[in-house]
Symmetry: C2
Subunit: 163 residues, 2 copies
DNA sequence: CAAGGTGCCAAACAATCGTTCGGAAGGTAA
DNA sequence: TTACCTTCCGAACGATTGTTTGGCACCTTG
């Protein structure tokens, strides 16, 4: 808390004129990140073909991670340290977000674009591959977000597509 | 440290008859996990077809994660808190492990089994999808390790295969 | 003008952190 | 036997943790 205070030129205790607890602050961070993921998924029209929807979901997901790297790191790592009640709220948002992905994949199975034994596992697979990027991707490096997004969505689509 | 001591029926300070520091203990955990990943990769014969090698690498990787869940969690999360020197050692092991994967994929590209623009990114993609499983997989649940391994390797192979 | 709220500091609070210390008990080697 | 080494306890160490307190300066609203 003293480090955070210093970052805004305050004394440690002065933060408490603005917040009630450290946990409230953590929840705020995690909650905002979750909201951004959801917003990016909601921006994808559901009347597009499943492949196109998935490509856009991938792009949106990576954009949120990359543009919000420190926040995303907190989001993925620290939500476990929230109280059970706050954790439940985060889990609810995460489930809601996963829902957008699952439905896109389900629709693709219905239209025959995809062919899968386990839609939930496929959803997890795709999100897993994407989530790990916060561990290694560094903006400003050789790999642009656009290139990363293109290659990753190609691989994800290949993994799901009917052959 | 006091919690760890309690887990082996000791007082907090008594641990220091056996170790020099908390960091030494953390490094030991992380190092062991890394060694297990490497051992599992080295058990895969390099004269097999690339697809078969990759299937076995997937199986081995998931086995290590699942059999060593708490340790794997520490491995993925806490290595960042080691001193720069110890971090370098861990990074070296990680790079070595990634090498087994990269070479298997490279060989697959040479034989025409796989078709990829960026081998390193494909390696990262596969490992990313696998690494995240420590976040959600729970042994004893509906999904057996064998089933998870089968489905995941199918999806990974589909993502890499020439079409 | 007065009253009350807000934002901040400096200091302190109790709890907890990793670690050290002196001493006691037991085992091993001479 | 003596001497040492290992293992452990109980207590303490200094540093750091999240948070509270009292007071001061400022702003807004009546």
């Amino acid at each position: 808390m003293r480090d955070l205070a210093k970052a805004v030129n305050l004394q440690g205790g002065s933060l408490y004129a603005h917040i009630d607890s450290k946990e409230e602050l953590l929840f705020e961070l995690v909650n905002r990140a979750a909201a951004e993921f959801i917003a990016s998924a909601e921006a994808v029209p559901t009347d597009l073909p499943a492949k196109e929807r998935l490509t856009r979901l991938v792009r949106g997901h990576l954009e949120v991670i990359v543009h919000e790297l420190p926040n995303a790191t907190v989001f993925f790592h620290e939500w476990k340290f929230l109280s059970p009640e706050l954790q439940a709220k985060v889990t609810a948002l995460r489930d809601r977000y996963e829902g957008y992905w699952r439905r896109a994949i389900e629709d693709g199975v219905k239209t025959g674009e995809f062919e899968l034994e386990d839609v939930r596992l496929a959803t997890l697979f795709a999100l897993s591959a994407l989530n790990w990027t916060y561990q290694w991707y560094r903006p400003g490096g050789k790999l642009s977000l656009a290139a990363l997004s293109k290659r990753y969505s190609e691989m994800i689509l290949s993994a799901l597509e009917a052959r």
